[in-house]
Symmetry: C4
């Protein structure tokens, strides 16, 4: 981990199960809500100060994702059938390689991304079928400090250099 | 379990306590909300690919059930006093027998269904009075992975054949 | 417990912390929501079949309490500064004594009621200052099966006679 | 603790992570909700009876904070970039010193306040980087009894004198 982090320029996060506990609140009118932690905000501010770009990539298009991303002031790409293609396009635009990307996910639809980046990370409570695809598994579950933990790890690894 | 699964053609799920943690959020205007897990969606897609039909059967009629079922693209039968009669009608329509049905429940109003199907399943946190009526008890609680676990079990059992 | 239950004619429940986990969801518009469990409904139906009257007594007046009570089809008395006076009035109306009443509470504002009834009950996660005032402490926390547990205890104690 | 409490005249609370579990519910329309515990209300009433002033100081401006503060009948200062400056102004107005203030926080943005008051307190689940800055760490997590615990401690310490 400590050897890989200094080479990372971009961190891409899945939303459900990473920024949330993978739960969805369903209201009578069919609208949805999710639960996130306030602690993520202070973490993402650290990444920004470190000059590391952050992005949320979500398969589905959902207003709650937009709402949370706006509040956190983080870029958000939704409604993409192929997350890996999005990652590749972002990397090409910036003149980076996938080896310079970290990806944080939690379920089998994250496998193409986890298997292609330099630093694949899963949350503590990721589905058992994806755990072995990660270099690092957070100690905190999704939506309960996993994002902040990743940000803190970057801060510490870059401070220790 | 592994012997019974290949003969199952239809899985019927109770909603409250199976797709949810059996909790209900009550708002000031009297409307309700429930909490489900995003992980169930990927599981139900597996069942569809395996050619196994899924259905939600709920005693009560509640807009949150309709909303969740629509999002998951799964058929939903509500407002039925007699769940077992619904199961029997579905089985007759399809030319199946109850021995070819799995039922997933969590409380005493599920007993008539659990006691009549080929594969009775209860969630980890089912009421103590129904546990002994099941062939399988999930390791995950209702609303927190129980549905996905059942889907994963079917996928694995059918792959191992 | 088993000796006292057959003499009980009325069960009075506090709402917050008994029907709920004592949490309140605060929305931006100042409205509130609470979380209850579906399992309570089947329990209260048992009490009704046993001919035992149930009532919710809540100090505060809150639309979520009314909404939940209506759904559960249980009488609900709100906005009463003095819960014990309410209990005494109910008992007098019915020609009962407080010895024939069970009260389920969770915090220090329940002490006058707990100390005056025949069967004082607290939930598992009651405030430490009220626990010693109860004859029975549920094994399930408030809002997570405590009410159902009390109903099941009554059913069993009356069946065992 | 017991030696410091009798000298405290003002308790300042952070909101998120102290009155709440640091989680935020994000709704589709971008509005937010938080989860608090009813037990805090009875605790704050104790402080009032003891003649100790309470205040919520929150960096962000958020309608949910105003809503909760109004319900609890506690003063609330929001939208302040520099929490310590707010504390210093309050202290000066009242002719107190920071040594007569207790502050309850949970994350790194609370460090300036925690490091300047007479009684710095953190909640059980505070971020690891702030724990060593506190004289007392509550046994209950934020939003799940931490505020009530602080109030009960004051009541007991002042009763024991």
């Amino acid at each position: 981990m400590k050897d890989i982090i200094p080479g990372i320029r971009l961190i891409a996060f899945d939303f459900d199960g990473v920024f949330t506990d993978n739960m969805v609140y369903v209201l009578q009118d069919g609208s949805e809500a999710v639960r996130c932690t306030r602690s993520d905000g202070l973490g993402l501010q650290k990444l920004e100060r470190l000059g590391i770009e952050s992005v949320i990539i979500s398969t589905e298009s959902n207003p709650v994702v937009s709402a949370r991303a706006e509040k956190l002031n983080i870029r958000c790409i939704q409604n993409c059938g192929d997350k890996r293609a999005v990652l590749e396009a972002m990397v090409a635009e910036r003149g980076l390689s996938l080896a310079e990307v970290a990806y944080v996910g939690n379920d089998i639809n994250d496998l193409p991304c986890l298997d292609s980046v330099g630093l694949p990370i899963v949350v503590r409570d990721a589905h058992q079928d994806v755990v072995r695809h990660a270099v690092y598994r957070t100690t905190r579950p999704g939506g309960q400090g996993a994002v902040r933990e990743v940000c803190d790890l970057f801060e510490q690894a870059l401070a220790d250099r």
